[in-house]
Amino acid sequence: MTELLINAFVAAIEGGTMTIDNVPEVYRGQVQELLKDNEGE
């Protein structure tokens, strides 16, 4: 469930419906890194 939630955050930020500030602190680092990885692709 956690991975699904994190991926949902990444998709929402990339889709422009959320910002990183909306992500719970506990997941923020992981979401940021996944966003960076996706930018690099």
């Binding site: 939630l5 994190i6 955050f9 929402a12 719970p24 992981q30 940021q32 996944l34």
Partner: protein, 638 residues
């Protein structure tokens, strides 16, 4: 002479003009006394100044030390930040590792078991008893179907006709049967007892002429018109026990209408996907001695058929779904808490097996359309990637040196266009006539009939020519007015691959079930409502809803039935949510397309062996005495 006292307070000197440059004093000694006092004070000041200078020096030292300490602290903080970042990076790497682990898990095979594949276009696919619990690999396959004829809401006794080609195969979705073309006009009559919507598909045109009626029924569960492709956005794998207590909600179901009924002392399930014409068995186990029942629904969630009701003494009940059943709902004359905390088990068959807990796993997939052309080349979703092997519908607008010709049944060319440059590296598939689908916005799918002589009366078909013939169009018509826009879906010479489009890992379970679904998970910040991300896929029904703790990420479930979905399905409101809340939810979107023949690969358990005659499965265990196998114990796997 007594020492004068230096005034503690600020002394104000007042000039006295006596025209002499003397210090004014009332007594000669007073001036000296005052000077001495001043000297003493100055000395004190000196001492004080020296003390202060020492203090300042000390303070400076301390400050320097403090500065050093601060520097150390900052360095330590920086170090901590670096470590934190490393930790975060590591954490993110862990996330990446999770993906790697997911792939590893899906592909792992610690017991050296054989991997077995099931190919099925069904929405619901059952795994056998000897499927091991382990990594399940799902491959979503493309499918593209354009019905030759459609019948929307055909009344009882009403008909749908179509021009057939001799010996071509046609699928009649009303009777779920394969028809063979007579070369003349054929008719499908609604001989059922109710109005029905159905389609007829020319299987040869799609390269599907070898498919069975059951396979076609799985591919076309919905009534539709126009071109439909396969889009799957979630694969869900469930264990043997199909009863998920998280599907429970407070309330009853009205027997006659199948609709919700308010009752705080009873509970019911949401809509559970069900197989048609299939036997189920439900076991209440330790639940209180109260009645329970099952209601069935069609693919549009309209109530159908029998209501199965069981009295208060029935602990195990069986029921068989009808041919048109797509969903069931179960209701209990017990509170939600009672049912939630009991061991209800729902499974296929007529014999209730030993209890196993509900298990499930998910893989979500970003929405990618998977197409198929008649030569069998399909877009697929596999290994977390979308592999696009066919073009999107592409308008024909190319210079001519090689032609696709659309002819009528008289063998006259009505339109010609070059298509070879779409894929010059794959000339052979063009020559084989099966590498693409040709659509007219006015006439629909233009079939390839292998030469104009086979084109049904009053129909059109395409062929490929190296030289052109005279174009013959109805008087006053141009290709544009007659055919509208012509588009091709063709086999790409080089596939286009999109990475990282899935999340989650699938597991197989013994006697498990796999669901190919059209569902998404989504997360948003609630304002006046909760809005979805993928606006091209609006909400049909909400499946689950959680409020996310903004610090810990903890999920608090909310009652889905209290959500109000906006017209258009792009958002919903819920009384349990306020502005600023972070919301995580899953939902089903509207789908009326077709199913591809997906492939599911599971591990064949070494510990469940199929009997060679009775069709049952058995586990086995040796009895070892003094290091020698002296016997075997065989137990049926249920």
């Amino acid at each position: 002479m007594a020492d004068a006292v230096y005034p503690g307070a600020v002394k104000t000197w007042t000039d006295v003009q006596d025209n002499n440059n003397d210090i004014l004093a009332s007594h000669i000694n007073e001036a000296y006394a005052e000077i001495i006092a001043t000297q003493k004070e100055l000395n004190k000041e000196k001492q004080t100044r020296e003390t202060m200078q020492t203090n300042i020096a000390n303070a400076n030292t301390a400050s320097s030390n403090a500065e050093q300490a601060a520097t150390y602290a900052l360095e330590a903080a920086d170090d901590a930040v670096d470590k934190a970042n490393d930790a975060l990076t590591s954490s993110a790497e862990n996330t990446e590792s999770i993906k790697s682990l997911e792939e590893s898990f899906s592909n792992s095979n610690p017991n050296g078991e054989n991997r077995v594949s099931i190919t099925s276009a069904a929405d619901i696919v059952s795994l056998p008893k000897n499927a091991a619990q382990g990594g399940l690999i799902g491959v979503v396959k493309g499918m593209t179907i354009y019905p030759l004829a459609i019948g929307a809401s055909v009344i009882v006794g009403g008909t749908v006709t179509f021009a057939s080609v001799l010996n071509n195969k046609y699928y009649d979705s009303l009777h779920k049967t394969i028809l063979t073309g007579t070369g003349s006009t054929m008719t499908v009559t609604n001989d059922t007892a109710a109005t029905a919507s159905f389609i007829v598909v020319d299987l040869n045109v799609h390269g599907l002429q070898s498919k069975t009626a059951t396979e076609m029924a799985n591919m076309t569960p919905n009534y539709f018109s126009g071109t439909q492709n396969n889009t799957v956005t979630r694969l869900r794998s469930v264990g043997k026990n199909l009863f998920n207590r998280d599907d429970l909600e407070v309330g009853d179901i009205t027997q006659s209408t199948g609709l919700n009924l308010v009752n705080a002392n009873r509970c019911r399930t949401k809509f559970l996907k069900a197989k048609p014409s299939t036997a189920y068995v439900l076991k209440k186990n330790d639940l209180a001695q109260d009645w329970w029942g099952v209601r069935s629904y069609d693919i549009n969630k309209n109530p159908i058929g029998t209501v199965w009701l069981y009295n208060l003494n029935t602990q195990i009940g069986t029921f068989t779904t009808s041919a048109s059943c797509a969903y069931i709902r179960i209701k209990f004359d017990d509170t939600l808490n009672d049912v939630y905390n009991s061991n209800v088990q729902l499974e296929y068959g007529t014999v209730a097996a030993a209890n196993v807990p509900y298990q499930e796993s998910y893989q979500y997939i970003e929405p990618f359309i998977c197409r198929r052309v008649p030569n069998g080349v399909m877009d697929t979703i596999e290994d977390g990637k979308y592999i696009q092997r066919n073009s999107v519908p592409t308008t024909i607008d190319l210079p001519s040196n090689f032609y696709i010709a659309i002819s009528n049944s008289s063998g006259r060319d009505m339109y010609r266009k070059n298509v070879l440059t779409l894929n010059p590296a794959a000339y052979s598939w063009v020559a084989s006539y099966t590498g693409f689908l040709l659509f007219s916005s006015n006439l629909g799918l233009i079939p390839q009939y292998g030469g104009w002589a086979n084109v049904p009366v009053n129909s059109y078909g395409w062929s490929i020519y190296s030289t052109g013939m005279d174009l013959v169009l109805p008087t006053g018509q141009t290709p544009a007015t007659f055919f509208g826009t012509l588009t091709l879906v063709y086999h790409l010479a080089v596939p286009i691959i999109t990475e990282n489009i899935t999340s989650g890992v699938l597991q197989s379970y013994p006697s498990g079930t796999i669901y190919a679904e059209r569902a998404f998970n989504d997360v948003c910040v609630y304002s006046s409502n909760a809005a979805i991300l993928r606006t091209g896929y609006p909400i049909k029904t909400l499946e689950s809803l959680y409020k996310v703790n903004e610090v810990t990420g903890e999920l608090t479930p909310l009652d889905v039935s209290a959500a109000v979905i906006a017209v258009g399905g792009l958002s919903f409101t819920h009384s349990g949510l306020t502005s600023g809340d972070v919301v995580f939810f899953t939902y089903f979107w509207n789908y009326s397309g077709v199913n591809g023949e997906n492939v599911y690969s599971y591990l064949d358990s070494k510990f469940a062996i199929a009997d060679t005659t009775n069709g049952k499965f058995y586990s086995y265990k040796p009895t070892i005495t003094n290091g020698v196998i002296v016997g075997w114990t065989v137990t049926e796997v249920t």
